[in-house]
């Protein structure tokens, strides 16, 4: 069984994946960039959810993400860590 990734590793994975999903992200995205102002909408969110489900083997559709979870990559990584540890 693969070891649970650390918070830093999750942040890194998302930092590489998310820029390709966001249309208005012209500059570099940091762990603190506001995802919604970069164009995160329902369609991109579903793509992101599917990516996270595949990558980390957790289900997010039944445990919906709230505003705080989706603020930026750091908060999303924390949420994923919590789900992985549950």
């Amino acid at each position: 069984m693969e070891p649970t990734p650390s918070l830093d590793e999750i942040e890194n994975i998302l930092l590489h994946a998310i820029p390709g999903m966001l249309p208005q992200a012209s500059g570099p995205i940091t762990p603190d960039s506001d995802l919604q102002s970069l164009g995160l909408d329902s369609l991109v969110l579903l793509e992101l959810i599917i990516f996270i489900e595949k990558k980390f083997g957790i289900s997010l559709l039944d445990a919906p993400l709230n505003h705080q979870d989706l603020e930026n990559i750091r908060s999303l990584s924390r949420h994923i860590t919590r789900l992985l540890q549950a």
């Binding site: 249309p23 919604q36 329902s42 369609l43 991109v44 969110l45 579903l46 793509e47 979870d69 989706l70």
Partner: protein
């Protein structure tokens, strides 16, 4: 192996979706006498100077040969392309002056009529209409051929024009000559995508979806009409909050689609009908997926298809959850991407033949209505040639059948809902009822 052969810089090979738009254009022309064109309207404070605008437009459009192009077909590989020869001719711009207390409403109604006027030649794809409404308001309508732009592309074109007027500059060749190779490769991938799309479309075709009868064209011509609902900032915020509370954070598209389905269901109920299913094709912008958010010309969208059963209409919450779940399933199975790839395969057939095949496959029923949620406008400047922009509206002619569409766009945090319908498909009160459903004060759960 991805083989790329050299091709002329005067050609922009059309994608399968561009070709699909051509098919829808052909079907709409046969049913209504005019094609699948659309219009974006800028509502301005002050009087936009018509002569100044025409001069600037002539200077700007001369940079874009694509504007006077036309579809053609490669004799060697049979792929259709957009021929871009020579300088673009400046699009026409008519001026109308209206006075009186209702000049604003009359202006929008007038522009709604302009969009129904067919383009005069095969090389004309753009026409402007400026309306001076009293002394202090103007409405600028840009009617465009859907083969040349999609709605987001039209907004980006106006934004580019305004930026150029403020600071004239040379354009990059990538912008002025949007060439594209024919993509005659990856056949296996396209055929596999085609298999999954074929399965999905056959499933859809087997559903007997509620639809409105299309009236026989009167002397070959029928016009589209429009009913608008403009929400202010706080109303728009209230709708967004309800969407997030019902469907989950950011789930605005499924919520707005649910409102549209409820509203259309009410129209059916008003006619004493209760169809078992509704099928709704929803166009989605694919610029993000191509990492090409500024692409102006041609069509950059794909489709999701939603099926709503009567049971799902039992409560709004259930309806929204159904929408979210179907959106999730289609995104996961990569249906929008597969749809794009599959459409590349159909380009070999002429649009007239494809229109007949499509009609045969779906038995003339192409869903209940078309829905699109454009989100915040790509036209971001508060000014247009010095005039403050107060709103931006879209008045599309909807592909027919189904001849009815519900469109949501946003400008400056304010939502606009437009119900577009072919004359005779709905009456004005029914269409106004659909748009009004989005007003928070009049939002009611089904059955109330």
């Amino acid at each position: 192996m991805n083989l790329s052969l050299p091709f002329s810089r005067n050609r922009r090979y059309l994608t399968g979706l561009d070709w699909l738009i051509g098919v829808l254009d052909c079907m709409t022309r046969q049913a209504t006498g005019a094609g699948n064109s659309s219009q974006v309207i800028l509502e301005l404070e002050g009087r936009l100077d018509a002569d100044q605008f025409r001069d600037a437009l002539a200077g700007f459009t001369a940079n874009f040969p694509a504007l006077s192009g036309y579809p053609s077909r490669d004799g060697f590989n049979l792929a259709p392309f957009w021929k871009m020869n020579g300088r673009a001719v400046a699009p026409p711009c008519a001026l109308t002056t209206l006075n009186g207390d209702n000049a604003g409403e009359e202006s929008v109604a007038l522009l709604g009529r302009f969009v129904n006027t067919p383009f005069s030649t095969r090389r004309e794809h753009l026409a402007f209409h400026l309306v001076h409404a009293g002394a202090s308001r103007s409405f600028l309508g840009m009617t465009f051929d859907h083969l040349l732009f999609d709605a987001r592309g039209a907004e980006l074109f106006l934004a580019e024009f305004n930026a150029w007027v403020n600071e004239p500059r040379p354009f990059s060749t990538a912008l002025t000559r949007p060439v594209r190779e024919p993509y005659l490769s990856c056949w296996k991938e396209k055929f596999l995508a085609g298999r999954s799309v074929n399965r999905a479309l056959r499933n859809l075709a087997s559903i007997k979806a509620g639809s409105f009868p299309i009236p026989e064209a009167a002397a070959g011509r029928r016009a589209f009409r429009y009913q608008f609902q403009q929400l202010n900032e706080s109303e728009s915020r209230a709708v967004t909050e309800s969407a997030y509370a019902t469907g989950g954070h950011l789930m605005r598209l499924p919520y707005l689609l649910a409102l549209a389905v409820e509203a259309v269901d009410q129209v059916f109920s008003g006619r004493g009908l209760a169809p078992e299913h509704y099928v709704i094709p929803v166009s989605i912008d694919r610029r993000a997926a191509r990492a090409d958010s500024q692409s102006i010309f041609f069509n950059q969208f794909s489709f999701l298809h939603f099926v709503v059963s009567r049971e799902a209409l039992a409560s709004r919450e259930r309806l929204v959850k159904t929408m979210v779940s179907q959106m999730y399933d289609q995104t996961k199975s990569r249906l929008p991407e597969d749809f794009e790839k599959t459409m590349m395969l159909i380009r070999i057939l002429p649009v007239g033949i494809l229109a007949s095949i499509t009609r045969h496959l779906f038995g003339g029923n192409f869903g209940t209505f078309i829905f699109s949620c454009l989100g915040e406008s790509a036209y971001r400047s508060p000014l247009f040639m010095g005039c403050p922009v107060t709103n931006l509206l879209h008045t599309p002619r909807v592909s027919t059948p189904p001849g009815i569409g519900v469109f949501v766009n946003e400008f400056g945090g304010r939502m606009n809902v437009t119900t577009a319908y072919l004359e005779g498909v709905l009456d004005d009160a029914e269409a106004a009822g659909i748009s009004a459903r989005f007003q928070p004060a009049s939002r009611k759960p089904p059955g109330v």
